[in-house]
């Protein structure tokens, strides 16, 4: 590993969207085992500094590759596409569907059996998310970068929806 290696190379994984999460976790731990500051507790301050730089990089790489949206963004960046966070998808059917999903989320708050309707909504959102992940993987593999970027915007939408669902779950707990 060199600090300037790309995140996939750090873990010796193929550069593509589909990822073997088990393998990533294993290699993450193998690298931590070598470089974590705890392994350098009695070493010189320079070595401790290097160890912190390496583990910081390993953690950043791992966090990026584990997260479906960050991983997609990172892959596009490797392909030379800087994703503009302000931009959004032009797919009006998708946007309409999002609007409906968010309305349903609002209705859950006042629903009689809010937990059950929230669970149903949560399952649907997850299914849509998986569908878009597959779409991203295949468009990227086909080097259809515009399409891939459009799919990334959809992933961002759905990730945000999932966060809102979680937030509501939290509110319902209290």
């Amino acid at each position: 590993m060199k600090l300037q290696q790309n995140y996939f190379q750090i873990f010796d994984l193929p550069i593509r969207y589909e990822i073997d999460a088990g393998l990533l976790a294993q290699r993450y731990r193998a690298l931590q085992r070598e470089f974590h500051p705890d392994k350098f507790a009695t070493r010189s301050s320079r070595e401790q500094m290097l160890s912190m730089q390496y583990t910081t990089q390993i953690n950043e790489a791992n966090t990026t590759l584990c997260d479906p949206v960050l991983r997609a963004t990172y892959l596009l960046k490797l392909a030379g596409v800087e994703v503009n966070p302000e931009q959004t998808t032009g797919d009006s059917d998708f946007l309409m569907q999002q609007l409906i999903l968010r309305e349903r989320l609002e209705e859950v708050r006042t629903a009689a059996d809010s937990q059950t309707s929230l669970d149903r909504l949560s399952r649907e959102a997850r299914a849509l998310f998986i569908e878009q992940q597959q779409e991203f993987g295949s468009t990227l593999a086909a080097n259809a970068l515009d399409k891939a970027q459009n799919t990334l915007h959809k992933l961002q939408f759905l990730a945000k929806l999932q966060r809102q669902i979680e937030q509501l779950e939290e509110d319902l707990l209290d």
């Binding site: 060199k2 393998l23 193998a30 470089f35 507790a41 009695t42 583990t55 979680e166 779950e169 209290d174």
Partner: protein, 625 residues
């Protein structure tokens, strides 16, 4: 006649001696110290056999008393006896007053940054009070292990924020301890149970999931860990720094007061009420009902009534359990082991409710009061280098998000909570007004959107930005969190390269000058020779550097160093050894620095070699499964 041995000048006469390492649980109610002796970790008792040191410090005009006697006499002298000081660590006066309505303490008027408490022995900060407790434990460790301590691991609640961690580290510095690591209490508990040594988890590639339910005197923590082949990973953590066994006692004490129709409760009565509440709570773990007496009132407290009093508090802990599982994207079925920590988990009702929630009986074989100190001692023993082949590795996360203040009193999260540490994140910000030449960087910790709802950690200014139109400057702010969870922040304007940086000393922490001053005060107090102490510390540091480098040369010197490089390094090592015996601490520091600089390329080459080996190790690792 046998010849007597004389060691080389400046060299340690016992180069391979076992290092002395301590694990300290600095608790709200009680503190403990443990160490590995004869291969197993055990709590070190005091001379009169007590394992726990009550975290109570009483100040007299001419001295200090720490421990059981101070706790026992607290009712007689509430203003000068500081109890549960951990609750004040890293907190401002306002926080303290809001969270604790009736405190017997007198706070000094200028308590705006670090709260200062007026005592018979002068004004003291929570950090100083904690340092007094640590000193007693350090002396106990030194006496029991028979010499200077090489390194210490101190535990903190996983939920402790940056300010609280920094305050803990400051207290350790003040007590003269070398801190190897601040370790989160739940992780320490999991280490103590040695769950990594069970054979069955080696068969599972994804490891096993452990929940640590820690209900101490003053804090509650719930932490989800994943253990996979010797690596403990904190997946998520949640809790409440203002909920603990003390609240359970308070709930029971309030009930007794209401039943006994007590009015105008003073500090002495309140203490007595709390004592009987605590006793009743513990007795009900064995008996079904207890009789209580107070001021001529006599009454019964039974298990169902106790459950009614405790359930609202226990439910608060269970809500945190739900949150922590959700953060880890797991459900209760995924949890393989549940560990109980903290004296308050002895309450039967707590055990019942935890078992019901997780659907499995929790581990409670190790004394819940000692389990954290024992785990800390095991980790200290590894970190200090006594077990070079040890496989155990602890990966931690930050418990609360780190954010920055943006326009309109809003926060922008730079590092979300539960991110593995160490971690660094950078983000660019820009100016708001035309010609703006300075920018305030306000560092915050917390989950909320508004600055007012988050904890302020530090505030500093980046000056000297050239005048530009609004939005033209590019200021890159970098947050770096180390493996102890401590933060440093830097800011740089990109076009000019103007920089500003600070190691975050939280607003409620102490600055270096404060610490130096306090150290000097404490030495004067203890009539210790500062110069001798400074020299001894410099020599210890030099010994560590020499030993580390000698080991490194021994291991990789042949393949990674040319003859010349090796000779130069050895020359520098010899110079440092001479400086050590000459006995000037400034020269020793300079030589240590010089040696470190000289050995840097070697250190980098060793890193690269490790990386190569780690990558080649992949295929081997994978065959193991």
């Amino acid at each position: 006649m046998a010849l007597l041995q004389i060691s080389e000048p400046g060299q340690s006469p016992e180069p391979h001696r076992r290092k002395r390492a301590l694990g300290i649980d600095l608790g709200t109610t009680n503190s403990l110290v443990a160490a590995v002796r004869n291969g197993s970790a055990e709590v070190l008792p005091s001379a009169d056999g007590a394992a726990m040191l009550p975290s109570a410090v009483r100040y007299f005009a001419d001295g200090i008393q720490v421990g059981a006697e101070a706790r026992r006499t607290a009712v007689d002298d509430p203003q000068n006896t500081l109890l549960s000081i951990k609750r004040f660590m890293g907190r401002g006066l306002n926080d303290i007053k809001t969270a604790n309505a009736q405190l017997p303490y007198r706070f000094a008027a200028d308590s705006d940054t670090v709260p200062k408490i007026q005592t018979a022995g002068g004004r003291v900060t929570p950090i100083q009070v904690s340092a007094e407790i640590l000193k007693v434990l350090a002396i106990r460790g030194r006496d029991t292990l028979g010499g200077e301590i090489d390194g210490t691991v101190i535990t903190v609640p996983a939920y402790f924020d940056e300010a609280q961690r920094q305050a803990t580290k400051d207290a350790a510095t003040l007590a003269g301890l070398k801190v190897l690591r601040l370790l989160s209490e739940p992780t320490a508990a999991a280490v103590a149970y040695g769950l990594d040594r069970n054979a069955d988890d080696h068969e599972r590639a994804d490891g096993k999931i452990i929940a640590v339910y820690d209900l101490g005197g003053g804090t509650f923590d719930i932490t989800i860990l994943r253990l996979s082949r010797g690596v403990f990973e904190v997946l998520s953590t949640n809790g409440d720094t203002a909920l603990g066994g003390d609240d359970f006692d308070n709930a029971v004490a309030d009930w007794i007061a209401t039943q006994a129709r007590l009015k105008d409760i003073n500090a002495v009565t309140q203490r007595a009420l709390l004592d009987s509440a605590c006793a009743a709570k513990e007795a009900l773990a064995i008996k079904h009902s207890v009789t209580l007496n107070h001021n001529g009132w006599q009454g019964q407290l039974d298990r169902p009534q106790l459950a009614r009093l405790l359930d609202p508090l226990i439910n608060k802990t269970l809500r945190a359990c739900k949150r922590v599982l959700r953060d880890a994207a797991l459900d209760t079925e995924a949890v393989d082991d549940v560990i109980l920590v903290g004296g308050s988990t002895r309450a039967l009702r707590v055990r019942e409710q935890v078992e019901a929630f997780f659907g499995r009986p929790p581990h409670a074989d190790i004394d819940p009061d000692q389990v954290v100190a024992i785990g800390a001692a095991l980790q200290a023993d590894i970190l200090v280098g006594n077990r070079p082949r040890e496989d155990l590795l602890l990966l931690d996360v930050i418990p609360l998000s780190l954010a920055i203040e943006t326009m309109g009193g809003l926060t922008e999260k730079l590092i979300p909570r539960n991110t593995p540490i160490p971690v660094a994140k950078a983000q660019e910000f820009t100016t708001f007004k035309d010609g703006q030449t300075a920018m305030t960087i306000h560092v915050l910790q917390g989950e909320r959107e508004l600055v007012a709802d988050c904890r302020s950690l530090a505030r500093f200014e980046l000056r000297g930005i050239p005048p530009m139109v609004a939005g033209a400057a590019h200021v890159r702010v970098t947050y770096q969190v180390d493996a102890d969870g401590l933060l440093s922040v830097s800011a740089q304007e990109k076009s000019t390269g103007v920089t500003a940086e600070i190691v975050v000393k939280p607003s409620y922490g102490l600055n270096e000058t404060d610490i130096t001053q306090m150290l000097q005060d404490s030495y004067t107090h203890a009539k210790e020779d500062i110069a001798a102490r400074t020299l001894r510390e410099a020599q210890l540091e030099a010994e560590r550097s020499l030993e580390a480098l000698a080991a490194a040369i021994n291991e990789n010197g042949g393949e990674l160093l040319s003859k010349n490089e090796r000779a130069t390094l050895q020359q520098a090592m010899e110079t440092l050894r001479l400086a050590c015996s000459a006995g000037n601490s400034t020269t020793i520091h300079q030589q240590v620095e010089a040696l470190n600089a000289l050995s840097e390329p070697f250190a980098a080459r060793r890193m690269d070699l490790s990386i190569k080996r780690a990558m080649q190790g992949h295929s081997l690792d994978e065959f193991d499964h």
